[in-house]
Amino acid sequence: MSWLSDKFSNTLFGESSKESPSWQWFYRLGSPRWFYQRSGQWLPWLSLAALLVLATGLVWGLAFAPEDAKQGNSFRIIYIHVPAAFLAQSGYFIMAIAGAIGLIWKMKISYMVMKAAAPIGAVLTFIALFTGAVWGKPTWGAYWVWDARITSMLILLFLYAGVMALQYAYHSVDAASKASAILALVGTVNIPIINKSVDWWYTLHQPATIKLTSAPSMHMDMFMPLLVMIVGFYLFYAVALILHTRNEILRRERKTSWVRELVTAKAGG
């Protein structure tokens, strides 16, 4: 009978379905060991790129871009405020999608990515809120107002904090990962609210500077450095996410032979 079931499974899944090149990357990516080794090779280049792009964008935006006709030089805060807010939201999607992949395919690495994304997102949300408050003082006359955009960003910070807290609320790593993933997924409802808050409600916060569907509402001389800064923040995010994920891999796989071999090889050489 076994030859029959073998034949059946072969016709159904193909003899070498796991080795087929189109899926190979997916299985490899699921291996913490493969990710740890590969990401170690990417890190120096990614870090260098992030540093160069961020430095270019900062100098360009802070020293060379023209000042805003209404807001004066305080508008230059946009070059850190908008990229940080952008990545705080993109990072939330990355965290929620990683959680979903973990729930659906039980991929170990994706839960680690989810856990790593939470503190990074929280810090970026904090940066967006802080720079927004400092920008608000000369522009609106107040550090803080309870308008829809700012309040929904504060909720984003609490969602990140919730995902982080849930990681430590369970004894079992698996239960903690599942609970965090569910919270992350439910919280995604907040992202469109943040995006649309400036259109749905009357807010003190200005409307979006960049929209995918229309031309930017600012002059090219001001817009180009902002674009550079957003690219720089994405690169920085990649570096930070890889660093935090690698630590999570080490923490969870510290008893495995490959981590031990890694350490002895390092100590010997």
């Binding site: 060379f64 030089n73 305080s74 850190i80 720079t131 003082k137 000369p138 920085f236 080490l250 031990r260």
Partner: protein, 75 residues
């Protein structure tokens, strides 16, 4: 450069304090995001190294203990 002098860049017509304090806090937070995991990684690798050392010590102790046992038996 958009500004006439370095002082003008620092002052930004009175907005300098807002812009530069925003930048300082942002850079500090971003640096912390990449430096803290590097220290953490070193601590984790050291922990694994200690585990390996401890295991090796235990194995060595067990080996010498069994050797001395067999020595006593032969006497």
């Amino acid at each position: 450069m958009y500004f006439e002098s370095f002082e003008a860049l620092l002052h930004m017509n009175g907005h300098g304090v807002y812009v530069w304090s925003s930048l300082a806090v942002t850079l500090a937070a971003m640096l912390w995001l990449v430096i803290a995991p590097l220290f953490k990684q070193r601590a984790l690798l050291q922990e694994v190294n200690r585990d390996i050392q401890r295991q090796q010590d235990r194995e060595r102790a067990a080996k010498t203990a069994s050797l001395s046992d067999s020595h006593e038996e032969s006497n």
